[in-house]
Symmetry: C2
Subunit: 338 residues, 2 copies
C-alpha cells in the first residue's frame, strides 16, 4: 500500500511538473520578469503599462487585434543618444578622415576641409547642401554589401565622443525594456528614423531586437548592375527618400502598410507620425522622450541643433501625448551606468 | 489495492496526455500534415523539399540561420493567375466604368473610350502612356484609407472573366502550400510584385497568410496632409517606384534589407531578383512557375503579353533554377477544382 501511495505521489508530482511546463510553454511571453525595471514607479510607467494591458485584454474597449499591434519608434534621441551630434554624423566625420588620403583636394575644399580640421562650426556653416555633399561622399559609390561591411566595421570600433563608450552602448535601457514589453504582448516593433536605413540595419537586431526588415529610414537610390557576371546593387549619389517630419507617416505607409497604434519620438521630426498614429479610429498611444537629465545624459529641447523639440512639446498636453521626463521617470538611462 | 492501481493508471494516463500536449506544443510547426499535398511526386517536389530540409538541418552544409531565411514570391502568374490580364488591370477596367458617370469626357477620350467600349486592343494601342493614365485616374486622388476601402470592396465583388470565380479564389493551391511549408520551417515569406503595393495589401493575409508589411510592390507618391484637423495621406498621380525587372532586387533591398535565399517567379520580370538571390554566398534556391496547362489554367511563355517568360527560361538550366511544369508537377491548381 505504501508503495502504491508513493507511486501515486510520484506520478502526481510528475503530472504537476508536466502541467506547469505545459502552462509555461503556453504563457511563455507573459511569464517574463517584471516589465520596465529601469522605469521609476511614476505615472508615466503606469500609463504605458495600462495601455499595453488594455490592448491585450479581450472584450475590453482598449483591445486591439494582434495584426494591428504595430509600434513605431524614432531612433536618434528616442532609442539612442543623438548628442553631441547624430551617430550617423559621427560615422560621416570618421569616414571623411578615412577616405581623405584618396582625396587630397579635400584638404582645401569645403565642407571636407572643416571635417578634416575638426571644425564643427565650419561644417554647420555648409548647411544642408554641405551635409548632402558629405553624405554622398561617404554613403554612395559602393555596393550595398560593401556599405554594410563599412558600417558594421565602424560600429565595432568607434566611440562616443563624450562617454568613450561604443556607440552601440549608447542606447536607452528603459526604451529597450519597453520594446521587449511591447513584443511580449504581441506588438511588432519598428524603427522609423530620419537616419539612413542601411546605416542602421546592420546593428538594430543586436541593439534592440529589431531585425533589418523592421527598420524604416531614409534611403539613397540604388541600381541593379552586373560586376562581371555577378549581380550587385550599386549605391548612387542621389537621395531617394527622406524619412523625416511629414515623410515619416509616408514611410510607415510605404514600408509597413498599416497604421501604428503606438508611437515614440522625441523631436518635432516625429510630430507628423505622432499625429497620424493618434488619428487612428481605435486605441492609440503616443509618447515623447524629453531630454531633461544633463548629468546622466543631456538636457535639451527647443533650441537644440539635433532633436529640436518645440511644437510637439507645446501640443503634447492637449493631445494627451505622454511626455517622459528622463530625469524623473527613468531609474537608469544607460546599461553601463553604475 | 485495486483502487490505488486504478489511481495510478488514471494518473499515468493524465501524465501521458499532458506530455503529449507538451510535446505537441513544442513541436507544433513540425506536426502539420504532410507538406505540399497538391504537388505530384515528381523531381520538382523533391528538390524543393530537400532544399528546405537542408536549411533547417543544423550542422549540415545547407543549413541557414533563421534570421536569413527570407523567401520572396512574385505575385502575378506565380501565386495567382495573370490571364487573360493582370488582376489589377481588371480592377482598372472596373473602376473606369464605375467612375465614368463623373467623367462624361471619357466617352470620347482615349484610353478611357476603349475601356468603356470593352475594346482590349484599343487599350493595348495606348501603350505604356495610356496605361499610366488609366492607373492614375483610378489609383490616385484619394486618401490611402479611401483607396484601401475601394480595393477591398472590389475584391469582395469582382469575378474572374473566364472562371467566374472571385479573383481571390484564383490563387495556386500548390504555391499556398509551399508558402505554408516554408513558414513552418522558419522562413519569412514576402511578396515582391510589379503590382501596386496598396492594391495587394488588403487581401494578401487572407489569400496567402502574408501580412501587409511583407508585401513589396510598386508605389505611387503619397503626401501627408491635413483634412481639416485630421491627418491623412493623399495618393498623388505620380509613380514613386516600379518594382519590376531590375527594380525587384532594388525593392527587396529597400524594403527588406536582407538578401533572400529562396525566390519564386514566372516571368522575365523576375529574372534580376532570381539572379540576385542565387548570387548569395550560402545556399539559395530559385524556381520558375511554367504555365503549361491550357486545360486547367493557361499555357503561355515566350509570346505572352502578360508574364512573358523567355530569357529566364533560356538560362534556367545552366543556372540550376527549378522549372515547375504546372501540368505535370501539380495535382491540383486551384482549390475550387473537383
Amino acid at each position: 500500500m505504501r508503495r502504491s501511495t508513493q507511486a501515486i505521489d510520484a506520478c502526481l508530482a510528475s503530472l504537476a511538473v508536466a502541467l506547469i511546463l505545459l502552462i509555461a510553454a503556453a504563457l511563455n511571453p507573459v511569464l517574463a520578469q517584471e516589465p520596465l525595471p529601469s522605469w521609476n514607479d511614476t505615472p508615466a510607467k503606469t500609463r504605458i503599462m495600462d495601455f499595453v494591458k488594455a490592448t491585450v485584454t479581450e472584450g475590453g474597449e482598449g483591445y486591439v487585434a494582434p495584426v494591428d499591434r504595430i509600434a513605431v519608434f524614432d531612433n536618434d534621441g528616442t532609442l539612442w543618444s543623438e548628442q553631441p551630434y547624430y551617430v550617423q554624423l559621427g560615422f560621416v566625420l570618421d569616414r571623411v578622415k578615412a577616405l581623405a588620403p584618396r582625396h587630397p583636394e579635400w584638404k582645401t575644399r569645403e565642407p571636407f576641409k572643416s571635417v578634416l580640421d575638426g571644425d564643427l562650426k565650419g561644417i554647420a556653416k555648409g548647411g544642408e547642401k554641405g551635409m548632402v555633399e558629405l553624405m554622398m561622399a561617404t554613403h554612395a559609390g559602393m555596393t550595398t554589401d560593401e556599405f554594410t561591411k563599412i558600417a558594421t566595421d565602424w560600429f565595432a570600433s568607434s566611440k562616443h565622443p563624450k562617454t568613450g563608450k561604443p556607440y552601440t552602448e549608447m542606447t536607452y535601457l528603459p526604451m529597450r525594456e519597453l520594446l521587449d514589453h511591447l513584443r511580449a504582448n504581441g506588438f511588432r516593433t519598428y524603427i522609423v528614423s530620419g537616419g539612413g536605413v542601411e546605416f542602421m540595419r546592420p546593428v538594430t537586431d543586436q541593439l534592440y531586437g529589431i531585425p533589418p526588415e523592421q527598420v524604416v529610414g531614409s534611403t539613397i537610390a540604388t541600381e541593379y548592375d552586373l560586376a562581371g557576371d555577378v549581380p550587385v546593387l550599386k549605391r548612387l549619389p542621389k537621395i531617394d527618400f527622406i524619412d523625416d517630419g511629414p515623410g515619416k507617416p509616408v514611410g510607415i505607409n510605404k514600408f509597413i502598410g498599416l497604421r501604428p497604434i503606438f508611437v515614440a519620438g522625441n523631436s518635432d521630426g516625429d510630430y507628423e507620425m505622432m499625429r497620424w498614429t493618434t488619428a487612428a479610429k481605435g486605441p492609440s498611444f503616443a509618447m515623447l522622450v524629453h531630454h531633461t537629465d544633463a548629468t546622466r545624459e543631456y538636457a535639451y529641447d527647443r533650441d537644440s541643433a539635433f532633436g529640436k523639440l518645440d511644437k510637439a512639446l507645446n501640443e503634447a498636453e492637449r493631445r494627451n501625448w505622454l511626455v517622459v521626463d528622463m530625469k524623473n521617470d527613468w531609474k537608469k538611462i544607460f546599461a553601463f551606468e553604475q
